[in-house]
Structures are given as structure tokens and as C-alpha cells.
Symmetry: none
Subunit: 252 residues, 2 copies
DNA sequence: CTTGTCTTTGCACGTTTCTGCACGTTACTG
DNA sequence: CAGTAACGTGCAGAAACGTGCAAAGACAAG
């Protein structure tokens, strides 16, 4: 067992058990209590746990939350995700596409939000497994490995049986004339199916996607309710989209 | 062995084992520790792994986090997972249950294995997204958050349309008279459905589950092909199962 | 085939990190 | 308030580390 790994293990045990005891850890890991105590001391110094006589307790949740957030640098995606999360009303059924921005979306859903999320992305489903009140429906199908989402006939069929209030669509290109595009035909078909099954469709479009175009059109621009983007999105591209009649909402 | 090939091998080992130790790699590859250390330094410089004293850990926190979550009794789960992975023949369709042992199973599937894995666990699906040749089918449904698997009517229906060669079943209890049990009725029903749809069923049972029993029976012991367990499984429990007519295979 | 260059690898050596023990101190328990 | 368990510190041996260097092999040019 590597020393570095040991600290992770202590923290993991702390999360699952709610406490750790120095003596028990020493026995379990077959190390002296001195070494365990040293680890606990160092983890406490980093604010990763709360040291107490005999062992340790979890650090305050605020600390954990802070370390997680600062660890992520995708500012634009976080901003767009947060903006999108704010559009969801209690009781709604929301279809969520795959992708890192969508991941940020579900991560920012309010902890007390009661809603239903339908997704063909196993990653999104796993993320929401820890959400206390959101109901999650997974759309199955053949796994399209490149973007890690379910696709194929089974997925189409499942989507056809769902009606969603909102759909959050991820694309690789948002272009005034080429419309909304992505790099794979199967994926485009799935995204199109979702768009048809949802009352409103919002595009998750962090700035670098605006003005870009990929090979396969998902839907034309007028098929969506609005494009959500971040504060750093290029002015010119946004203006072009608005001229084309698309509503563009910028994150804070 | 080419140097570049060696680095790939190190990264592959890191993915499957969750860590690598410089000394072990040196012995395995019959090279000096210096050379291994050089490789690790370079891979760390490229951000492909996280260098720590004694070896290296995965660069992505997500991977590391999961490895750690499997807990202190990880060795047994890895051993059982590896044993189970070895039972899969090319061309077979394999149903895989949720759980950390199953996660180890798919992680140890040979990189060149051509097979189809069907699963109602989004976590397993995500894990297999990086496997080069395995085809993955996701079973959808309502997400049962506690164990992070799809369940409910939709899942049942989807499973009913599948015929698998093998099913790897995870349970919380393996008891000579109570049979195979788990802690949730819905989950038990899904597992039962899989058992009925598979030619052979193998139980993933790391030692501590033997002799234990939970509230809901999945299937009786005679419904499964064999129980896979680790070398540290209690002798007495294993003997009792064998007396009850169950084949028990221990991991080396 | 020979020569020169570049890469790879292992070794030597000084440095850093990890770990367990000894010892004195501090915190719990009855 | 006494006894015990847990604690922190200093220290030493062991293991791991990085660096510089030289030998061996690969490879292209001549």
C-alpha cells in the first residue's frame, strides 16, 4: 500500500463510516499507530478532516465543497451549467444530454429540488445518484463509447415513450446558418429525438462552440427555445445568432 | 519491449489496479527501478498519472476516488473480479450486476476480448466506455440510488428481451439455507430476472458475505452455477455451502 | 562496412521521505 | 486523583528518490 493511497483510503473510510479510529486503522492497514497518527495530523492540517482524540471525524461540509469547486477550472461550463440548473422548476421532467456541461448542470441542481431527470448518459445518472430528491430515469441502449451515452434503436424507442418539459441539448457547433451540429450521425439522431419529445429545448453552448459547425445537423436554430452561453462568449457570434432570430442567454 | 509500449502497459495497469508500485513494475518487467522511475516521471510530466512516493496513482480524481471507495477489503474484490473476468469467452453475451466487485470484474476483462456486456449499472457502463473491444448494452429504467442501478418496470421489460450466456450476480448474503439474499426487494427482483435470462449464473461473493443473510431472497442456491470467492473466505462457511451442493470456486 | 549521433538503460552517490521506536506529555475514565 | 490510553517529538534505519555519467544498442549518413 502506497503512503499517498493510504490517506485517500482514510478519507474514504471517513465518508462511509462517519468516523475513523487510529487503532483500528493501524490494525487494518498493518502499520504502527504512529504512522496513522501522522497521517491524521497531516490531513487535519490540510483541513481534510477533523482530528479528535482517538481518531478523526469528517471536516465541515463547507470545506469539502470548497475544495471540490476550486479544483475545477472549467469556468465557462460551470457558469452555463449553473444557469441551466436555475431554469428547472419543481415538478418538471427534464431530459439531459451527455457532456461535461450537462454534468455541471446536474451538479448545480438545488439540493431540495423535486424533479425528474431523464438521461441517456450513464455519467449523468451516476452523478445524480447522490442527489437527495431528484428522480432519475435512465434511457438504455447500445453504449456509444466516444461520448459515453446510450444510442441505437433501443434508446430511440425509450425516448419515444417519454414527454419532457425541458431538454438540455449539448452540441459541438452553433452556427447562424449551419444550425446546431455534432460530430456523429447516431448522436445527432438521438438529440433530434429528444428535441421532438420536449416542450422547450435549451442549448448548452459555452463560448467556444458559437460560430463553429460540425458534420451532422441536429436541428435548425429555430427548433430551440434559447442558447445558453457564458459571459466570455464572442460578441460577434452572439450578435449573429440574435440576428438569425435565436434567443441567447448569457451566464452571469 | 519498447519503451513506449512499456508506458502504455504502466497506464493500463494503473487503470485496472488503481495504483502501480515502482518496485513491482521493475520486477515484473525485469528492468531496474531507475528506468521505471524515469517512465513514471515522464508520464507524470505529461499529466497521464499522479506520481507519489513509491509509485503512482491515476491522474483523474474520478478513477482514484472509485478505487478508494471499494474500501479496505479491496484485495478480495479484486481477486474475485479477476477470477470472474477469466470465465468470459470471446463472443459471449454477459450480463453484469452492479456493485464494486462487478466493477473489478469488468476492469479485468482482457483488453482484446470481443464480447457483449449487458448491464443495468451506469457505473459499469462508464467503466467499460474505455474498453477497446467490448460492446456495451445499457439497460434503462428508474435509478435505484442506493446501489446505483436501473430498476423498475422498464428495466424488467428490457431484461426480458435479452438472453445472456453468463450472468454475474452480486449479493449481500450467501447462506446455506437462506440462499442468496440482498437488502432490497426491487433489487432482488431485478437480479432474479437476470438469473432467469442467463444460461449460467456466477455469484460474486467475497469472503465476508459467506454465511450472511439479508431480508430478500434473490434465488435459492441451486439456481446458480457456482459461487466465486477469495482465498481468505472462511473455511467453515465454504464447507457448509459445498455440503449444501453448491460449487464454490476460490480465487488463487 | 564504418563512423558518428542519439536513445536507452543501469549504476553510483548524495538527498529526501517514510516508518517505527523511545520517551516525556496530555487527555480521558472511574 | 490515579491509572491508562492516546498523543507529539526527536531520532535513526530503511527505502525511495533525483542527478550525473558511462556503457550498449539503434540508426542514418557516408
Amino acid at each position: 500500500m502506497l503512503a499517498a493511497q493510504r490517506k485517500d483510503l482514510i478519507l474514504a473510510t471517513l465518508r462511509t463510516e462517519g468516523r475513523v479510529v487510529a487503532k483500528e486503522l493501524a490494525a487494518e492497514l498493518e502499520l504502527s499507530e504512529d504512522t496513522i497518527r501522522r497521517d491524521l495530523r497531516e490531513l487535519a492540517a490540510d483541513g481534510r478532516l477533523h482530528r479528535v482524540h482517538g481518531g478523526a471525524l469528517p471536516a465541515s461540509p463547507a470545506v469539502a465543497d470548497f475544495t471540490v469547486r476550486t479544483g475545477i477550472r472549467q469556468d465557462a461550463k460551470v457558469a452555463v451549467g449553473r444557469l441551466a440548473a436555475g431554469l428547472v422548476r419543481p415538478g418538471q421532467t427534464v431530459a439531459v444530454d451527455g457532456g461535461t456541461t450537462a454534468q455541471q448542470l446536474v451538479r448545480h441542481l438545488a439540493a431540495d429540488l423535486r424533479a425528474t431527470v431523464v438521461t441517456h448518459s450513464p455519467t449523468i445518472a451516476v452523478e445524480l445518484a447522490t442527489h437527495p430528491s431528484v428522480e432519475v430515469i435512465i434511457v438504455g441502449g447500445r453504449l456509444f463509447k466516444h461520448s459515453v451515452v446510450a444510442a441505437g434503436a433501443a434508446a430511440h424507442e425509450a425516448i419515444g415513450r417519454i414527454s419532457a418539459d425541458l431538454f438540455f441539448l449539448g452540441v459541438t457547433g452553433i452556427h447562424p446558418t449551419a444550425g446546431l451540429t455534432t460530430g456523429d450521425a447516431d448522436e445527432a439522431a438521438i438529440k433530434r429525438a429528444w428535441t421532438q419529445r420536449a416542450g422547450e429545448t435549451y442549448v448548452l453552448g459555452s463560448g467556444e462552440k458559437i460560430g463553429a459547425a460540425s458534420a451532422f445537423e441536429v436541428v435548425p436554430l429555430d427548433a430551440v427555445t434559447a442558447v445558453l452561453t457564458d459571459a466570455d462568449a464572442p460578441e460577434r457570434g452572439v450578435a449573429e445568432l440574435r440576428t438569425a432570430g435565436v434567443e441567447v442567454i448569457r451566464a452571469g
